[in-house]
Amino acid sequence: MEKRRVYFDNNATTPLHPGVKQAIMEVLDVHGNPSSLHAFGRHARMLVEEARGKVAAFIGAKPDEILFVGSGSEGNNTILSILNSQCRMCEYNTCSGKELVTTKIEHPCIMETSKCLAERGIRVTYLDVDRDGKVDLNQLRDSVTLRTGLVSIMMANNEIGTIQDMKTISRIVHERGSLFHTDAVQAVGKVPVNVDELGVDFLTLSGHKIYGPKGIGAVYVRKNAPFCPLIRGGHQERGRRAGTENTIGIVALGRAVELRASEMADEEKRLRRMKEALRKGIAEKIPDVHFVGHPTDSLPGTLNVSFEGAEGEAILLYLDLAGIAVSTGSACASGSLDPSHVILATGLPVECAHGSIRISMGRENTFDDVDYMLTVLPDVIGRIRSMSSAYARRQ
């Protein structure tokens, strides 16, 4: 088969949708500051508020419950920072809770922030997950108390794609009088998300995961929910996020969710078929593989697979040389040998965690990409295993 370029790393970031690109080009010359009272400013303000309406509508929120931020990470940091916010400086409701309940499989921007909060006296509980990456609901029931200020559980996992039972979780959290935040950066725009149906009080989403540009995200904050700005010193976003609005990014995000609304349903079905074909093909062609993540409750295009005796970064680079882009949770790629905390949390043996790759498909991928992957991957794994000290031992 002829060499081709296949981008299978859509959970890392996505290519810009041509429609979003068009919207960006149209707004590039709108230079007015949305806070200015003159016509230049009012024009920008109008575009920002239009986009806010689109984002709100896409997740079933009201426009004034949406605030724009610079990234998903900023959004998540912002929400975690409401814990123990008892000062009366701002007009917002405070949150006196000194305990945070989260999980062992969150994105680093939640994990690292939780560690930092723990250093500042917040008590943090990290919930376990099962083999498929689902949160232990009994542990959740036992962990959330009246002292729990916030429960933060990601809706869909970036590495293994598992989607949590959001409605059950939000019921448990609310029965115990706490608040529920979800990092929905990977879920929004891939599966239906409605804040009322899910029962969340806070939700984070990001532009570049849904064919929008980098550097723009949004946070949903339920009306009257406690809040505490992370970035202070400006009246923008009704005082909740200082800094002149990123008009271009905001307009692009508005257009991105609008396009998702019309394309998502068909694409979800198509991606699920492609993923099944890939899973089946890998299982047939390559022995000793482990699929990680829930078999059905999972992101449509995300497939995490571990190959015994093959190290993740080596797989990644051999695939890269064949034109295929995937990612690995095995962090040899990032300079330490710590395997992915997500894969480890599912209970997969450490040696398997080192050999896992994440294939994340998106709107531009086709069945031809799947076929190409299935032609290249068995050779790559065979080649690595032929020089593997960990695979020979098993034979």
Binding site: E313, A314, E351, A392
Partner: protein, 211 residues
């Protein structure tokens, strides 16, 4: 996009694409010395097997296998070529820096992956000495306990530095060194500087490949 730089040198790429001297069949090879280092749980492992011309004290063949990343594969491949024809005592002194030089330099954060090969080689040479009754030539690398509370050795400090620890706090994160009584702090900080210098000193190490 084809103009995007490969993160490694051409030599690394060549050895990654076409690794030399893989130990395909251990029984057929019948090594005179065999060494193993690392383990799969830690994310990398290396087996090195050598044949030795006893009269000349020279390595005649070197084969290897690894559970490791691109850098481990390339550096061990190049090392297996370098040591053929080398005297045992010279091969024993081969350092990651020598291998790195031959490769044209690895990115700094990948250097820790390249030290497995020479470690396994030293183990293989020692194994050869043991097998041939040359017990007095066996050189053990004695580890010194630095932190008595957590039983952490200087070798563990060195490994942590190779894996990316650059500050005392990062060392503690990785090894738990000095987290109980803290008396070893000065000693650990000296070792930290020493190993940073040994492996990453800008004037000696082959610098990063790409600007």
């Amino acid at each position: 996009m084809d103009k995007v730089n490969w993160a490694y040198t051409d030599t690394v790429l060549e050895h990654f694409m076409h690794p030399k001297n893989i130990l395909a069949d251990e029984e057929a090879f019948q090594p005179d010395g065999r060494g193993i280092t690392g383990n799969v749980k830690c994310g990398d492992q290396m087996i090195v097997a050598i044949k030795v011309d006893r009269d000349r004290g020279v390595i005649t063949d070197c084969r290897w296998k690894t559970f490791g990343c691109a850098s481990a594969i390339a550096s061990t491949s190049v090392m297996s070529e370098m040591v053929k024809g080398m005297k045992l005592e010279d091969a024993f002194r081969l350092s990651p820096r020598d291998i790195n030089k031959e490769l044209g330099g690895l990115p700094e954060h990948k250097i820790h992956c390249s030290v497995l090969g020479d470690k396994a080689l030293r183990a293989a040479i020692n194994d050869y000495y043991e097998r041939s009754g040359l017990h007095d030539r066996v050189e053990k690398e004695e580890a010194r306990v630095v932190c008595t509370c957590m039983n952490i050795t200087d070798h563990e400090i060195e490994d942590a530095v190779l894996e990316g620890a650059r500050t005392y706090y990062e060392l503690q994160e990785k090894t738990k060194v000095g987290t109980v009584c803290g008396e070893c702090k000065d000693d650990v900080e000296r070792l930290l500087e020493f190993y940073k210098n040994k492996h990453f000193c800008a004037t000696n190490a082959a610098g990063p490949v790409n600007p």
